[in-house]
């Protein structure tokens, strides 16, 4: 028995020895990813994890680890563990609520690199990034405006923060471009980014009030499933939700976080990004950079089920004249993906729902104005916490 134990121990030691050897020869950078939700949420955290796998597979010199479902207040402790026990060189934190914790950790570990998603605080060793959907939501709005019969579009939002307000505004502006009578009914969850029961009841109440096309920001496919139960079209969010309702997911918003991660880690590896020069590194990537995509599924901008209806809906567009909605979507998509940003959804004149002129004629909102947006566009109904009077 004793000899057996010694044998087992020897085998273990040998294994560890080889693993250690293997490590020193390969990985040059180790990155730790921190997610706010479970990676199975099929939304935000899932999309980040898919991207992590892609960079891990693409770069042989990169090793990654992740921690999921981290409460926003506990991020600092998790960062400590990643750095001290896992020995990571780069920490990627993927929730707005991780911002202050990440910044404070960045100050305590000045020789490590931090990469924070969707925030606005940076440091010499802390960069920020975001792949924003407002252009895609605008195109979803154009499609929704053409599909609705009741002229009521429903939107389930998790929290009334500028990011969602920007997206709902873009959705409403797009819808009213092709259908000036379109209204967007909004319901907020205000509980969690992941709240399937809330999303279900919110979607049901929107349908009960007459909404016949649904879009949402929440980290589960619930809204898509509810819409399909009622035979109504909807738009997927974050990950391809086509498979949950192949006959009803008209389009949606898809993200390619890997576009940003591939660029960022390549620059870290090449020594372009160091713990001293990240103060002004802020990725704000859109359609043009390939960080976001319009679609019910990857490579499917519009579900073929809806193609006929959108092709036969002819509108008189203020810019492009008489055109089918189907063609208009692709014309606008091309204009927004253009290297010169030929078109921005937030180009004036735009009034808010209280009648204030928010964007003057011919003016285009800047990134700073976009990320601090609080007003509600014309056509939006429902509560709008934090709505400015003027």
């Amino acid at each position: 028995m004793k000899r057996f134990t010694v044998g087992v121990l020897l085998v273990f030691l040998l294994c560890f020895g080889f693993v250690a050897l293997g490590n020193t020869q390969e990985a040059k950078i180790k990155a730790g990813f921190i997610y706010v939700g479970p990676i199975g949420d099929f939304g935000w955290s899932y999309a980040h994890d898919q991207a992590r796998r892609i960079v891990d597979d693409t770069y042989p010199w990169l090793e990654t680890v992740y921690v999921e479902a981290v409460p926003e207040g506990e991020v600092e402790g998790v960062i400590d563990r990643l750095i001290n026990q896992e020995g990571v060189d780069v920490v990627v934190t993927t929730s707005f609520g991780f911002m202050d914790g990440t910044l404070s950790a960045a100050q305590r570990y000045p020789d490590k690199i931090f990469f924070h998603c969707s925030g606005f605080k940076r440091a010499p060793n802390m960069a920020t990034y975001m792949a924003d959907f407002h252009q895609v939501y605008y195109l979803n709005g154009v499609i929704a405006g053409a599909l609705t019969k009741s002229n009521k579009l429903g939107y389930v939002g998790a929290f009334p923060i500028p990011e969602l307000k920007r997206h709902i505004n873009a959705f409403a502006l797009g819808a009213r471009r092709v259908n000036p009578n379109a209204e967007v009914l909004v319901r907020w969850l205000q509980t969690s980014w992941y709240d399937p029961a809330g999303a279900k009841e919110a979607a049901e109440s929107l349908i009960a009030e007459g909404a016949d096309v649904l879009a949402f920001t929440e980290d589960s496919p619930t809204v898509v499933q509810v819409a399909a139960e009622h035979g109504l079209p909807s738009f997927g969010h974050y990950s391809p939700m086509y498979k949950f309702a192949p006959d009803f997911v008209a389009s949606g918003q898809l993200v390619h976080w890997e576009a940003i991660y591939l660029d960022f880690f390549a620059k870290v590896y090449a020594g372009l990004y160091t713990p001293k020069n990240l103060e002004n590194v802020d990725y704000w990537w859109l359609l043009r950079e390939g960080a976001v995509e319009l679609g019910a599924d990857f490579g499917m901008p519009i579900n073929p089920v809806f193609e006929e209806q959108l092709r036969s809906t002819i509108v008189n567009d203020p810019v492009y004249g008489e055109t089918s909605v189907y063609d208009l979507v692709f014309t606008l998509l091309k204009a927004m993906a253009d290297p010169e940003y030929a078109f921005s959804p937030f180009t004036g004149p735009i009034r808010d729902r209280k009648g204030n002129l928010r964007v003057s004629e011919g003016v285009r909102l800047t990134m700073d104005e976009l990320i601090t947006m609080e007003w509600a566009a014309e056509g939006i109904t429902g509560a709008w916490p934090g709505e400015p009077e003027k």
């Binding site: 479970p38 199975g40 949420d41 009914l185 319901r187 029961a197 279900k200 919110a202 109440s205 949950f244």
Partner: protein, 305 residues
């Protein structure tokens, strides 16, 4: 149908559909506590039920098989708690909490590969004759009707049958029951098992009917609410039904009225109302001397009292 009629049937329908898991797990907890065993592991049992139902339905293509398995799995898991609290006479709070965490953890780990999977066949919806004429009862998952009927049946059993007297007596005075030849251990095991089965079924409803899909944390605190509702209901299945539907209607209305009333206020209502109701009802109860089962949470040992 008139606008008001349409509105009422919508609200009633959503309330019925939303309240099912809350009602089922509350009924189960009432039976466990009536026999003297406090089971704080409801949330974990629900999660186990939701996961096992989904996994079985996913592989077999038969949601009903999933329903059966979820009841068995959660029932058997609850026997762990019964073993600890009845046979080993450990602290029921600790062992219940441990069971809850274990259930969440196991279903979370085993369920990882099932997250985001699509179920080919889900639980069907039915129209019941006569009942479907009522507003809000038009068509529902079978769980909706079954849970409503079950609440009435369980109330009848608890208060109007010999079995009910036995269960309640075991929860009040196990020593006297023992002296009369009632098998206290068996009654307690059976009640905890039954509570586990109902918690598992409520999980199955979530993952096969209400959602339908599986993801970690999908029980979203319903198991904890069930424990609170058990107290609110004064360990009475009919009051449990009232409480579950009350919570359900407030939850649904909090979304319906959002355009008119501040969403922050509405969000608190489903939780605030039971709190207020609880304080009123408990004053009433103090006058009528209604309270928890006298031996709730107290392990029974022959000859020690």
């Amino acid at each position: 149908m008139s606008t008001i009629g349409f509105w009422i049937s919508g609200v009633v329908g959503r309330t019925l559909a939303y309240s099912v898991p809350l009602l089922l797990s509350t009924l189960g907890e009432i039976y466990a506590e009536r026999s003297g065993i406090l089971n704080l592991g409801v949330e974990g049992l629900m999660s186990l039920g939701a996961f096992s139902a989904f996994a079985v339905a996913f592989f077999s293509g038969n949601p009903w098989l999933g329903v059966v398995v979820s009841g068995i799995v959660a029932g058997c898991a609850s026997l762990v708690h019964a073993f600890c609290s009845v046979t080993l006479r450990t602290n029921q709070v600790v062992s219940g909490l441990a069971l809850g965490m274990l259930g969440m953890g196991i279903s979370g780990v085993l369920g990882r590969d099932f997250e985001g999977k699509v179920l080919a066949t889900t639980l069907p919806v039915f129209r019941l004759p006569f009942l479907s004429a009522l507003p809000g009862f038009e068509k529902h998952n079978v769980f909706v009707y079954a849970s409503l009927g079950l609440a009435v049946v369980l109330w009848f059993v608890l208060f109007h049958t010999r079995w009910g007297i036995v269960i309640r007596s075991v929860g009040e005075n196990p020593a006297a029951c023992d002296a009369m030849g009632i098998n206290v251990t068996l009654v307690r095991y059976a009640c905890v098992f039954f509570g586990g089965v109902l918690a598992g079924l409520s999980g199955a409803y979530l993952s096969l009917g209400y959602r339908p899909s599986w993801s970690y944390g999908m029980t979203a605190g319903i198991g904890w609410l069930a424990i609170a509702l058990t107290i609110f209901a004064f360990w009475n299945p009919l009051w449990g039904m009232v409480g579950a539907y009350l919570f359900g209607i407030l939850y649904h209305l909090s979304f319906r009225f959002q355009a008119q009333v501040s969403p922050e206020l509405l969000n608190t209502l489903p939780y605030l109302f039971p709190l207020v109701a609880l304080s009123f009802v408990s004053r009433l109860a103090a006058r009528r001397k209604v309270g928890p089962p006298a031996s709730l949470g107290v392990p029974y040992q022959r000859g020690s009292s």
